[in-house]
Amino acid sequence: MSTTKSIPAQQSGEKSTSGENLLEVEDLQVHFPIRQGIVFQRQIGAVRAVDGVSFQVKPGESLGLVGESGCGKSTTGRAVTRLLEPTGGTVRFDGEDITHKKVASMRAARQNLQMIFQDPYSSLNPRHTVGTIIETPMKLNGINPEQGHKKRAQELLEIVGLNPEHYNRYPNEFSGGQRQRIGIARALALKPKLIVADEPVSALDVSIQAQVVNLLQDLQREFGLAFLFIAHDLAVVRHFSERVAVMYLGKIVEIADRETLYSRPQHPYTHALLSAVPEVDPDGADNRERIRLTGDVPSPINPPSGCRFRTRCWKAQDICASEEPPLVQLIGSADGHQAACHFPEVKQVVAPEEIPAAPASAAE
């Protein structure tokens, strides 16, 4: 599995220009208040969607963010692009603190910080032509390309593999995959350094999904883009991102480079996620280990004490309820591999017998 080598090699050019991180997120919190009362609304609690998340993205690097729905991965993405106001913590982009920047000055920062949205049907204005959609970010930011807005938009259409003559068409004339390409062209219009891609391929068919993943990869190589790639499809994330962070209930439970994370996961949740992915190989299906998590993600309004995963964890003991495990690097694990667990795995994922069965699968 000496596969990661080729991609970092191609990006070493970008990386060497600045050794520091492009995006630094520290202890990010996003809480949504719950209010009660008609005239005098008082806050009775908060949905702690993101509760202390820290990570860094280097220039030209792609960080994957995976987790179940409701774990806060999209909220994290939106807080990073400041579509949501962070409750606490800091977001530093390109050496600048953008956590609580004013709207006007944020606009300048967003030139380098763009987003691709999940649903290609609702993220494009149906009343605007493709040309308008792609030109608007340039006009709003006062960017006047030499060749003019129209030429630049057509150029972008060509870059994302669409016919430049479709400049005057409306989004409804395009299929899902093509619309997603328009969304990508719009994100590229400002020549950003970082793109937050929130489930960019999950609404697409498998064959089209591969086209879009390849396109994003080409763009990443060509323009040295950094990505925060949010997805719930573990295979796609592994394919696209050099480093992967696993989120559970508003926190990162494990972060590592993809080889380490997928072959030697330490957190039981990562383990369970990986074992739940259905594999195409019809023969391999029987002898793979299966960990079946029971129940759903607990409510982020009132998360469990201590380790948040303990309510579904087959290893949970008393300490898990009383003490929250810190996200730390274990002795002997790969560089940059951090996990937040009191009882981390230190085994290969391919050794099936050694892993204790989940209560769910044992009951069957």
């Binding site: 080729s6 729905s69 089209i208 594999e279 023969d283």
Partner: protein, 356 residues
Amino acid sequence: MAIELSPQSVDVNPASSFLEVRDLRVHFPTEDGLVKSVDGVSFSLEKGKTLGIVGESGSGKSVTSLSLLGLHKGSRARVSGEVWLDGEELVGMTEAQMRALRGQKVSMIFQDPLSALHPFFTVGSQIAEAYRVHHKASKKEAHERAVEMLKRVGIPQPERRAKDYPHQFSGGMRQRAMIAMSLVCDPELLIADEPTTALDVTVQAQILDLIRDLQEEFGSAVIIITHDLGVVAEISDDILVMYGGRRIEYGSVHDVLKAPEHPYTWGLLQSMPHLGGDVSQRLNPIPGSPPSLINLPSGCAFNPRCAFKDQVADGRCLSERPELLPVLDSDKHIAACHLTGDAKAEIRSASARGTK
């Protein structure tokens, strides 16, 4: 093109299998022309077995399943062909006859549980209603049955949750409630239309396990419609690959996934990233997009997206529609492609050398 078959003209030739679909066609007349959503699909299914139907959006998977339930009756759709379920022909049935079967003998799990459940009624009452339609049961008995079903599909505190409304359930629980509703009358044929597409992998694994367990328990036949080949590999016995409303490959899961015979199936398999795959390798997508069902390309419907059409002599791919032919003398595995067996073997070994 559509042959309108009245119930009388149906050849009385009951099927040997539990479910047998013969030459099913579902056409929709529209302003732009006739949409041939399903065009001559045949398959059979035994009790206790699972069939996976795979294809892109617009390939006719869902329309096939809806027509099995007779849900196109009364619409403008033209349905023809034969559907034999346990000795009865369904296409020619009246709506009243069909209604007696629905839920009782055939039932369906829909893709989006939030829109398939009624927001105004409690989950328990919706499940109980399905039971009372088919059984002479008091409200109390039906409610008890609903609670029992909710318990069976693994919903904690079923007595309390039966009184909840759908919006109070999470995505996975709603899907479980849907499954409980479709299983409340112990159907012999269960059709699951993308039952896990909207769910997370962990919940998906739970739901697939649940469907498998319930199938073992009740011995029902299951049709699972999905575009995820991983799900099919996990749960199905047979697999039917559809493209442009037609069958292009049909066989056992092992045969089709291990030795796919149609370039479209190769494409589907190659375009998916695998957990153990080589990350430096680019994905190999199928170029282009699915065809219009009004004007299918002439010849093989897949030809505009096929990389191998040049390898067939005389441009037959463009002019002649390939027949579904058995592969390697096995009558279980059929595929519709003009490529010869030798040519396919060569392409497959070449791509194996190239990718691995």
